[in-house]
Symmetry: C2
Subunit: 303 residues, 2 copies
């Protein structure tokens, strides 16, 4: 498998594999979610179970007919009950991927985190990994964590890195390059997460992270731009070619991706990490494209 | 005065004012610094005192002749001595603006922070404010703090906001809109700086910050993009129209500006804040444009 370096390549890869994944959507009634799911059904990468309040879907029968036999509508008007049913389907193996529709994030998370019926194995760390496609960068960038963990501990950050590496492997990246991001390349000991960065580098040298290159601290210029990076004369095996950015905290990852989305025309897909099965949990304000890319990302992770 | 909404307007304003500021540069021997200074001399906004190791300047006499009488070269081969002399000139009033040339930042900062001979009045907080020009945003954005204070306290953050507002006023912005940035618009009490944000909003309502609008927490989308902001239905007087972004921490501000510089073609000028006189302190890897805009920003602040 060649490495996948854009969302177009991701979609092409999935259609060539020709194997539909079963997607359970909790309360798929909003148009962004429905449009994204339909697109994924129509190009042949998923079979969808839309669980929720059918009365809120415009022309549900027509909708089902047009796209059958790969759309199944399950009418459960109560949002909580619909959410629990979607989680149950994924947990039992009746579906491969869980997706959030018009459900409050807290409600879905509570269902996922339920110790008996949820999707997070004991001891696993719940975090988030997003794939960013920036037109002027030469490949996808995986970033962690823009949403879930405000200020990661060493254990959490180690898990974040491992999840991101596993995702990169699924995208066919043979030896992912990981940048531990900071404001500069100087390992200032006064910065509270710097010792964690140094510990992670030591663990990497010990072979803890597998076939991968990790370097840091690096700033955004050093991680993503060979030219600007070179001016500073910082020798780094990651210089200008990072696949994975691990951010100090979630505001930092969040502001970075929103800035490049808004002003650099970046597009994003993302998934919760740590769960038994992939979970698409995008915010309501995210675009149809973003939701569609997230579904596609989930499909490649279940292969 | 009309408000200045781009670096081109800033330059036009300064040339129309027709009043040269005196700029003292500590070891102005690198080409980026020299080119930026020369450009500012040539358009008539500064008179430059280049203090440093003349032997390192290519053709210093020719250089001086071509641009005289507004270039003065003061030969002090020792970098520390040159730095102290530049600071002394600004402190004594012989110059209006201090600029860093090829000097280690620590050396310059130590000279600025010296209690007797330095430029930071007792009790003032040293921080950084940058002006970002992003082609697809409708005006300049002032951001604080991408460089100096890793994790601001309430007192530091209050000072950062006041400096940024003072700068915005100098740019002719009558009622600046300030966004307190976070990953979302939800004031999660578990986030360590959230109480500071709420305290700042209360102080603002008490009239503490003057003629200004402050709102937060807001994410980057809500602060800078009306369309995306509107989807979330968050009513904010700042929505999509922020002049000033106050970031949670310096990595966050740093990654935001580097991301939009790299992928959104943003350009930046910036100054230390809290000093008696403006200080241009850009990193070696920054462009000639960036250094030039910083000088121009310093000029407008001394009027």
């Amino acid at each position: 498998m060649e490495s996948i370096s854009s969302f177009a390549e991701l979609t092409a890869h999935l259609t060539s594999v020709n194997c539909r994944k079963r997607l359970a959507v909790a309360n798929a009634v909003d148009s962004h979610t429905l449009d994204a799911v339909l697109r994924a059904v129509d190009i042949g990468i998923i079979e969808a179970f839309l669980i929720g309040d059918v009365a809120l879907i415009e022309s549900p029968h027509l909708f089902e007919q047009e796209h059958s036999p790969f759309i199944h509508i399950i009418d459960i008007p109560d949002v909580l009950a619909a959410t629990l049913e979607a989680v149950r389907m994924v947990k039992s193996g009746e579906a491969d991927i869980l997706m959030k529709g018009l459900v409050n994030t807290d409600v879905l998370l509570r269902a996922i985190l339920d110790k008996e019926k949820g999707l997070l194995p004991a001891g696993n760390i719940l975090t988030y990994n997003a794939a960013l496609q920036i037109p002027s960068y030469h490949k996808l960038i995986f970033i962690s964590d823009p949403v879930v963990i405000p200020s990661p501990t060493l254990v959490q950050r180690t898990a974040m890195i491992k999840y991101a590496i596993a995702t990169a492997y699924k995208f066919g990246i043979v030896k992912p390059k990981v940048a531990l991001i900071h404001a500069t390349e100087i390992a200032n000991p006064k910065i509270h997460y710097m010792q964690d960065y140094l510990d992670i580098l030591q663990e990497w040298r010990n072979g803890e992270f597998g076939d991968v290159i990790i370097d840091g601290p690096l700033d955004i210029f050093l991680a993503l731009d060979k030219d600007r990076g070179s001016i500073k004369n910082v020798p780094s095996p990651v210089l200008g070619d990072a696949d994975i950015l691990i951010f100090p905290n979630f505001e930092c990852a969040n502001c970075f991706y929103k800035g490049v989305s808004l002003f650099g025309h970046a597009e994003m897909g993302g998934l919760l990490q740590g769960t038994e099965k992939p979970v698409v949990l995008t915010s309501r304000s995210e675009s149809v494209d973003s939701k569609f890319y997230s579904i596609a990302m989930a499909c490649v992770l279940t292969t």
